[in-house]
């Protein structure tokens, strides 16, 4: 039996280099903490950063030699490389803002960084998964690590609430996804995305479109939960508000981008023959996500909760690009997720610093006069908020522009109109913060006027540059996205 066995080739191993480096890095971090003892905890964040940079290099190397790996389980194409790089950059920025936060909360621990690395490994698998089994395993690695991270400060009630809500609802959603995968296997006899596509579009195969639609619907439940799309967005505000601020920053960017990556890949490869069945459902979901996110954010007072609802709203804009179901739509979603990652991380980095020890409740009015205390930070915050609104010269503008352009190209006029109206509504709650920061008198002396730690400063500069580059020279990234948007069927 073993005669026709060919071991995986070296290039296949290189294609999973980032995953290997992340796994090894996470494991070494946990061992290193035990060996070095309590006193050397300050070295943990730089070590995690070093591994992340290595993995970033690994992802670049892996991307230079595209192709399938391990019996088509993974496929490393431009699309996969794009999302791998994106989640790794998000990981680096999150680690940068985590160091000072953990020290302040007296919770420095290698486990935290190890879990971030493992979670990124899961997301990296998701970005390149070409097989529903890998989708499930990658999603679970990423999710379980983030469940734990959401409840990382165990003595904090809000952390506990966030973790248990996220865990229970998340497991439920994953069960739906898995059930859908099981049915798909039952109908088509395969879990490989290309083969599912081939089966569903071939004239010879006998199957019931209704049954396949049910599979697509069940998998939609799982994916929609992970990207916080309506009607499965209910967990998002509580979890993003309750989790430690750097973890919220991480969660709103990396797992969401990876989940969108796999969502797009599954729907535009495996289910591309059933477009007319799933498009209306996603249409409604995209619309509801935008409306719920924006109108709920309008009424929030807590700044973290407002950003959480805004994260739901932004998922809605990306959903518009998913509904478009075209190459331009895929490219637009890629670009949007990249620009959203930068602006959102920047905003959350400032919140991380501002809330201070024990994460006090920060209402929007508490930001009064912040521009006078910290002119530079306030200016950066304004920059990120403007990008979240979608003002020209920021990454957010081109993100929205490409998303709605792809929607118009696909004749989704009403969805585009609704999306644009929503963006206008969103401008109100973002601008409110800017107005409070610049034009209101400081009411009380806030504890966060202290110096900004070096890590947070670096992350802020990095995100601001990211938003700027995407807003001024979008063509480089967009061209790459356009080139990689053609997913092989």
């Amino acid at each position: 039996m073993l005669v026709n066995f060919t071991p995986p080739s070296a290039s296949e191993y290189i294609r999973v280099l980032p995953e290997i480096l992340l796994t090894v890095g996470g494991t070494i971090l946990m061992i290193a903490e035990g060996l070095a003892g309590e006193r050397h905890r300050r070295g943990l964040a730089p070590m995690a950063l070093a591994f992340l940079l290595l993995a970033l290099g690994g992802a670049v190397v892996a991307g230079m030699d595209p192709g399938p790996a391990f019996n088509n389980m993974l496929t490393v194409d431009g699309y996969a490389t794009f999302f791998r790089l994106l989640v790794l950059i998000v990981g680096i920025l999150s680690v940068l803002i985590s160091g000072s936060y953990l020290t302040r909360e007296n919770a420095d621990s290698a486990d935290y960084y190890a879990l971030i690395l493992f979670s990124l490994c899961g997301q990296s698998i998701l970005a390149s998964a070409n097989e529903l089994i890998m989708v499930f395993i990658g999603l679970e690695i990423s999710s379980i690590a983030t469940y734990v991270l959401a409840g990382f400060l165990r003595n904090d009630k809000r952390n506990n609430e966030a973790a248990i809500k996220y865990f229970l609802l998340g497991s439920f959603a994953t069960a739906f996804l898995l059930y859908g995968v099981g049915w798909i296997y039952g109908v088509t006899g395969t879990t490989n995305l290309q083969e599912i596509h081939r089966f569903l579009t071939s004239s010879e195969s006998v199957y019931s479109p209704l049954l396949v639609s049910a599979c697509a619907a069940m998998m939609f439940v799982g994916f929609a939960f992970k990207v916080s799309a309506a009607p499965f967005q209910g967990w998002a505000p509580d979890v993003y508000q309750g989790a430690p601020a750097p973890v919220s920053a991480f969660m709103t960017a990396a797992p969401k981008a990876a989940a969108f990556a796999v969502f797009l890949r599954v729907y535009s490869i495996a289910f591309s023959g059933l477009t007319e069945r799933w498009q209306p459902i996603l249409w409604v979901s995209a619309m509801a996500t935008m409306v719920i996110g924006n109108f709920a954010a309008l009424r929030q007072d807590n700044i973290k909760r407002m950003l959480a609802y805004s994260s739901v709203a932004h998922a809605g804009y990306v959903m518009v690009a998913v509904v478009a179901h075209s190459e331009a739509g895929v490219a637009a979603a890629m670009f949007y997720l990249a620009s959203y990652a930068f602006m959102n991380l920047g905003a959350f980095a400032i919140v991380t610093h501002y809330v201070g020890k024990g994460e006090r409740y920060v209402g929007i009015d508490d930001m009064a006069g912040y521009a006078r205390q910290q002119p530079l930070i306030a200016a950066l915050f304004t920059w990120f908020l403007l990008s979240l609104i979608g003002v020209p010269l920021t990454g957010g503008f081109f993100g929205k522009f490409y998303v709605f352009k792809s929607a118009i190209d696909s004749n989704l006029i009403w969805l585009t109109v609704l999306g644009l109206l929503n963006s206008a509504v969103a401008a109100y709650y973002y601008l409110r913060i800017i107005v409070v920061m610049y034009f209101h008198e400081p009411t009380n002396e806030t504890g966060a006027a202290g110096p900004v730690p070096a890590g947070v400063r670096l992350a802020l500069i990095g995100s601001a540059i990211g938003v700027f580059v995407l807003g001024v020279m979008p063509s480089a990234v967009l061209e790459f996205a356009n080139r990689s948007a053609m997913l092989s069927r």
Binding site: M1, F5, P8, V16, E19, T23, T27, M30, A69, F70, N71, M73, L74, D111, A114, L115, F118, S119, C121, G122, I125, E131, I133, M134, I137, G138, E140, I141, I144, A145, Y147, V148, G151, F152, R154, N155, A163, S208, L210, L211, A214
Partner: protein, 169 residues
């Protein structure tokens, strides 16, 4: 004929056990009912000639995981839990929702023609290596990567549960 009778017996065990698991007030009774349910599933595997799954179901689920369940149940204060108000009181809503979803699924399967399929053609008898060998072949050749990556999933779960459970300093 005999197969059909056995199928219904095992199916009854599975569903009856599952219902008892969620309706018993005492956690111990629930755990024991779960064993019955898992046993029924094991029987169904055997009917499908999946001996390996049958063995794994008994050894792992009934042997390993259930014992772990029982340990946990014995460690927590049972009398207290039995007296306390149950967390979820939405009996009626849950019943309506599950009946609705169930009806929807039956309707869907019916219109998809699954329920009225002609009598199943028996699967061709396995030639060549047996069940377990075939499984190993698939697992270590075609599905090598998922098999290995699953270990990372377990590692993350272990690290996470230890972190959640360890004493705070």
């Amino acid at each position: 004929m005999l197969d059909t009778i056995f199928f219904y017996v095992f199916a009854l065990l599975t569903i009856g056990g599952a219902i008892a698991t969620i309706t018993r007030r005492s956690a111990m009774h629930s755990a024991l009912s779960l064993i019955v349910s898992l046993l029924g599933v094991a029987g169904l595997y055997l009917l499908q000639k999946a001996e390996f799954l049958f063995a794994v179901q008994i050894v792992l689920y009934i042997g390993g995981i259930m014992v772990l369940f029982l340990f946990v149940i014995m460690l927590v204060n049972l009398d207290q839990a039995a007296k306390e108000r149950q967390f979820n009181r939405q009996w009626l809503l849950g019943l309506v929702a599950s009946v609705l979803v169930g009806a929807q699924m039956v309707w869907m399967l019916n219109s998809a023609g699954v329920l009225s399929l002609p009598a199943a053609v028996p699967a061709p008898a396995a030639t060549g290596p047996g069940n377990i060998e075939a499984l190993a072949d698939l697992l270590f050749r075609e599905y090598l990567l998922p098999f290995e990556v699953a270990s990372l999933l377990l590692l993350v779960a272990i690290v996470g549960s230890v972190m959640m459970a360890k004493k705070t300093s």
